[in-house]
């Protein structure tokens, strides 16, 4: 698998796994509005994931389509960021995970608009508008919870402390990233750190939340080494397709 294919799969898998996580909220969110909101975020991310999977399949050239890539790869063949496979937890945990992700994805798409791969640039241009809207939603909730009651502040501060270490991976360059950037297709993850920090710090200040201290912890989900949580998510997501190969609507 070339670095370019792997790079696009990282983006696709990150979207797909988070879309699946958000889908777990359907019917369980604290209010109908948030049920709809989280489902809508999931839909947008799933739509982008389908386009990205299809593009990865084209670049790979082995005839694997979006369904095959989504449903018939094992855990170690998934290259999503470890942050997005973390369990939903309570609504505050989900808001924090979403906020850290949205701020990263908006910067990513803004940069990928200049990708030498026309399909990737088109997906990014469309996705940037959606990511901006998502960030408004998750950032708005982070401010409400952080600057809310003593209870909501304490809980969301704990969520932030718990999830923060996973953000290191978002900005960690490896050989695949460097090769994709050199080929003019991808963006170096480390280049996305400064705009992310500006966005995150601004909202954290509004939310009266302190930025957690830097940790040296780096996970490598994007290299296929995952936390314990991904296997369960994939088992649920893939069970229908594996039981009924080739099933479609």
């Amino acid at each position: 698998m070339t670095p370019e294919v792997r790079y696009v799969l990282r983006l696709a898998d990150t979207n797909l796994v988070l879309a699946q996580r958000l889908g777990e909220w359907v019917g369980h969110a604290p209010a109908l509005e948030e049920d709809l909101g989280l489902a809508n975020l999931s839909l947008d991310l799933l739509g982008q994931a389908r386009l990205l999977l299809a593009r990865a399949g084209e670049l790979e050239g082995l005839g694997r389509g979006e369904d095959q890539l989504a449903y018939l790869r094992e855990e170690s063949e998934y290259f999503n960021l470890t942050l997005v496979e973390q369990p939903n937890g309570d609504f505050g945990d989900t808001v924090v995970r979403q906020f850290l992700f949205d701020a990263w994805q908006l910067g990513l798409y803004e940069a990928l608009v200049a990708s030498g791969d026309a399909a990737l640039a088109a997906i990014a241009a469309k996705g940037a508008r959606e990511a901006a809207y998502h960030l408004r939603y998750s950032g708005g909730w982070l401010v409400r919870l952080g600057d809310g009651t003593a209870e909501s502040h304490a809980r969301v501060a704990a969520s932030l402390a718990r999830l923060w270490p996973y953000t290191n991976e978002l900005f960690h360059d490896d050989d695949v990233d460097r090769a994709a950037a050199a080929a003019g297709i991808g963006v170096l993850p480390s280049a996305l750190a400064p705009p992310w920090s500006v966005r995150v710090d601004q909202t954290l200040a509004h939310a009266t939340l302190a930025r957690p201290a830097h940790s040296s912890f780096v996970w490598y989900g994007k290299q296929g080494r995952h936390s314990e949580h991904l296997g369960y998510l994939l088992a649920e997501m893939q069970s229908l397709h594996r039981a009924h190969p080739g099933a479609s609507w």
Binding site: E33, A39, L41, D44, G47, Q48, K126, G127, Y133
Partner: protein, 170 residues
Amino acid sequence: MGAEASVASALPPELLTRLYGILAQVADPEIPVLSVLDLGVIRHLALRPGGQLEVGVAPTYSGCPASAVIKADVVRALATAGFDAVAVDVLAPAWSSDWLSEAGRRKLEAFGIAPPAGRACASARDDGPAACPRCGSQRTTKVSEFGSTPCKAHYRCDACLEPFDYFKCI
């Protein structure tokens, strides 16, 4: 897809007028008061070398479930009129609520959905409806960023107290 579109040839004006007449009757499945032309999702009409009619359709949101239905409805309407048509996705340039037609904006408002207030709003700024589509009051409160479909947000009028949908500016 792209390669096929580039070799497709343009259509004579009389035929285009007829095709647009057919497409004007194809409703958005989620907001039936709008036609696909009002919505601004029809990007091109062209003839493929084999004689097949190609319709370029831009998805509104990446994950909008209506996108597949819209393409199927377009192909079905054209087939009913005797055209062998195929609908293809057009991702770039990305669809924007700026592409809603003026007629479409008026139809939305008459239907009780506030049309997008701003233009070219790709930023995360907090836009909102210009006025309540029922009573015209400018005093409105956002209930939720997401309404009954991906393209709408949920608002409440503080004057007449009625809830209403706002077609988001994106």
